[in-house]
Structure formats: structure tokens, C-alpha cells
Symmetry: C2
């Protein structure tokens, strides 16, 4: 049973909610790099906000719930192209990748 909320929050808000405001220890850790970044958690949060089950998301994307589970738990490092499919087809969002120098 799902209670989809069409009024989803941005991931920035989600991050604030789940990992603390920018500057806090936990938030810094989250944003330090990929290993700590745990992209899976972000996907999970977004999915839940959308009121989707893993299986529903999987079907939208064209995969299985077991794979979604593994991505959310960072058991497998998905390719960028796969992450994009999940976020775009499944969640109606998009990924931004940026490089910060020095």
C-alpha cells in the first residue's frame, strides 16, 4: 500500500533531513566522495518520497527489485548510464555530475 505524495521535496531537502545541514560531520562525510557518498541512499530516499516500492521502480526502469535493492544498499556500483535510467525513467529526475578543482 502506497501513499504517493505528488509534492516531493528536492534531494537537497532530503539530504538536510537525513544527513544534517551542510557543514555537519555526517553531511561532510556524505559528500566527501563516492565511497562515502552512498548514492544508493539518495535513490532510496527519492523512491520513498515518490511512494514507489522497489518492484514498481524496477518495472519502470526495466529491471528487477533485487537489483534495485543492491543499488540502494551500495552492494553494486551501478554505471552512470544505469543510474541515469533509474533516476530519469523511474523517478522523473536527473543526475548532475560536476568536478570541483582545487
Amino acid at each position: 500500500m502506497k501513499t504517493a505524495d505528488p509534492n516531493i521535496m528536492t534531494l537537497e531537502e532530503l539530504k538536510d533531513k537525513n544527513y544534517g545541514k551542510p557543514g555537519t560531520k555526517k553531511r561532510n562525510e556524505l559528500e566527501a566522495g563516492y565511497e562515502n557518498f552512498k548514492i544508493g541512499v539518495l535513490i532510496q530516499q527519492a523512491r520513498i518520497e515518490k511512494g514507489l516500492t522497489q518492484e514498481e521502480l524496477a518495472i519502470k526502469v526495466g529491471t528487477t527489485k533485487s537489483y534495485i535493492s543492491k543499488i540502494e544498499n551500495n552492494i553494486k556500483e551501478a554505471r552512470l548510464s544505469t543510474l541515469r535510467k533509474i533516476v530519469e525513467l523511474g523517478l522523473g529526475g536527473h543526475i548532475e555530475l560536476s568536478i570541483k578543482l582545487k
Copy 2:
């Protein structure tokens, strides 16, 4: 022969310089998604600003110049872990990955 400039600009500045200010057609295209994003071009620009050859960068990262070439020309989609190595070990920066919903 290289003319390394220790005073490198941020990638934001590089993007402005090479793809126009935010809002322009070209810039929008660049930021639309990974396919158009051409992360390779950003890496190439950063490398050149650092005054490094592909081979020098490759050695710092622990890979080969042929691979760097492929990444810069978007022939291969590098893994996130590899992109991180290139940016962190090779260019002294870091990658940020974010998901934007709706």
C-alpha cells in the same frame, strides 16, 4: 613543452569560457545529462590548465595515456571510481554527484 599555470581556474569558470554562461543553448545542452555532458571535455580542459600531458596524468592516476584519451573523447564511459581517481589523484579536485528531482 608545457607551460603549467599554477593559478588554475575552477571548472565553473572553464565551463563559462568554453560553453557559454548558464542559460545559453550550448550550456543547457552541456548540462542536460551525461550523454551530452561530455565529462571528458571537462577533464581535458582541467588537464590542460594544469599543464599536464595525457601521459603525465595517466601516470599520476595509475593508468595509461590511451585510456585518458578515450575518456577525454567520450569514447568510453569511465566508472565513477575511475573518474574519481583521475580527478582526485591526477587533478587535485573532487567529483560531486547529485540527483535533482522534478
